[in-house]
Amino acid sequence: MDREDSVRGEPTTERGNQEPHTTLLVADEIGQVKEVGLRSADGGKAFGEPSTRRLAKTGIGAGVGSIRPNAAVSICGLPWKGGEGQFAVGRRCGRVEVVETIASHSADDSADCEASLLFECGLPVQKGGAGAGDLLGLMPLGAFSVASCTTSGVVEVWRPSSLDGNPEAAVRLNTLASNAGQPSSQKLDLDPGRPAECFSTWDNLVAVAGKANNARVFDLGAPSAEEPIFHARSAKPNELGIWEKPWVTCCGFVPGEGGQLVALGTAEHQVRLYDRRVKRRPVLSVDFGENKVTCLCFPCEEGASREVWCANATGQIRLVDLRTAGEGGEGVGASLKGALGCVRSLTRHPDPAVPLVFACGLDRHLRVFDLRRRKQVKSVYLKQYLNDAAVVVAGGEPAGQAQEEEEEEGGLRRKKAKRARRS
């Protein structure tokens, strides 16, 4: 009864306990953004049927031969909007659009709302011949800006000049510019297509890495932002003298360390930890699986725990303990089973009290894993290849504990929900 209503998109605010306590925006390969609402069932023990709604449809050309320029590649919350349900959706061709979740106003049945253009990054006109590339990702940078990165290594920082205005590029950084001047002592054959394959932000720091391109960390707040403040090096050659050419496929700053520690996943199934304070070579290296590591996610936002959930191209999601690895310890610990194909993105629920991790990828499902029980709790079939997921409403534990969260995002809607629950 309720399920069909919510699937059709009718408002469910009257029924307080049927509202989703966690909403996710999922970006897929044909350019749609779907809003998935997870609601609790059985008094909060399990997850009931999710509701899905299509949000953004764009009129750009669809593409051919599975090269889709309007594929939605990345979703990130706009930090200056304070989490009022506005998210930036980045498409592969460089267009970034704003998408509003339907939470803040009454749900309309026509779920195909047009997304309005926010900005376009990496336009060839602006580049001045640096080479066009696909959009790699969008990430919030600090409290006021959003950073975008293309596969050719151009990072742009977008900051709105006024509160409601569209952001403009405040900083434009060609992260590979420092490559041009260097004599290549070792022949790094730069693949002209994708020198940047992953990108991560922390405060004012940006890390970019890719094929034949070790991680470089740039400080965008510093006056000389063109030079990286840290340029990683590969691990030393092994006893046979074999040196692995670098191919980094995912990276992330370890939270709680002020941007000093960077974790990377490589295409040669290694997870590496770099410490900026110590040395340029990796401090730790863990072997995980047999395929390239596609994404990383940290279980705790703050705190000294050094664990990373890593996912690879075959759908294996494993917990790598960065403390015990490389010392004779196992390194690769728990696993989250259930993904059938390459995992394109692992997102942790932003609320530390809610131990949920969401995995989405090429098996067309969004999977919800409980980090305490380490089991798949729910899987939502979303029909398309999924590229990225972002959590919208940081809801609390289902059925009752939600009232404790006062400072959550999405203020108006949460207050409505709280009122409905209390009454």
């Binding site: 599975s66 047999e290 596609t294 194909g341 098996d363 029909k383």
Partner: protein, 329 residues
Amino acid sequence: MALVENEDALHDVNVVKNKQKRNEIVRKIKKRRKAAKKADKEKRQKFLKEQGLPLPKPQTIESKRTHDETFVAKDDPEILEEESTDEFADLLSGTEPPSLLITTCPKPSKATHTFVKELECVFPFSTYKKRKETTLVSQVVEYAIDQGHTSVMIINEDVKQVDAMTLIHLPHGPTLSFKLSSLRLSHSIFGHGKALRDNFPELVMNNFRTRLGRRIGRSLRSLFHTKPMCHNRQVATFHNQRDYLFFRHHRYVFEKRKEKVKASESETGEPKTQTKIQTRLQELGPRFTLKLLHIQKGILNWRHGEFEWCNTQDNKDSEKGYNRRTYVL
């Protein structure tokens, strides 16, 4: 003489120490129970028939399949939209004919060679190229792209028996890996025919219902020409049952036969003849079974490729646990 208290209780039978006698009693009890069950069933069905209610359908393995939410509904707009821009859209719209390069693992034996020769007759526009020992798969793919082929099929063998098939669609297409079994070449099929080369057979794709199944169905369809030569009356069938794809290749013929209608049914009393159309099939070509091992999104690249679906140990754990009535295609 009643040796047990309650003649119908199986567990009381343990009182009887003589094994022969004990077994006899058990058999009698079971026989009685079976007869009672049958009588019950007949009574129930008779009752339903009298009432005019439909009889319940018997359960089959297929009917007990766990519900799969990825079943594609007819004309799902999202799926159609995705398919209009996927790797097979060009081939399936008929703008360009397919072109298949068939090759084998290095150093194939005679079994593989005969199989490949038969495959050439199955797929239109296919060419077989002998694989050198030093050629890598990536080099084969490069060569195929240079020559303008749309897909590459690599037949693998183990212990002189064909056991796997890898289908790589070009230029960015997905790579499908199948396990090949139950191969029967045409010479071992009784009454087989010989397939015409460069013929566009009609296709029958059965039971590709899930999203994954649909994708595989499209990829197999893209190996054939979109406009079949119906006058050649050749049919290639890919039948999916419980995740196994059965391939059959037939030639069919519709024959008209005149049959005499029974004399009691005719009104005038003269013998009437009816024309019936009978279909006859002649099997051509090889017969084999495929099972999907994994699908990669790009060209075959074990180390750096991204898998759309791969059958790892992780898949066995789902929310409800492993269920052997769960199928993928």
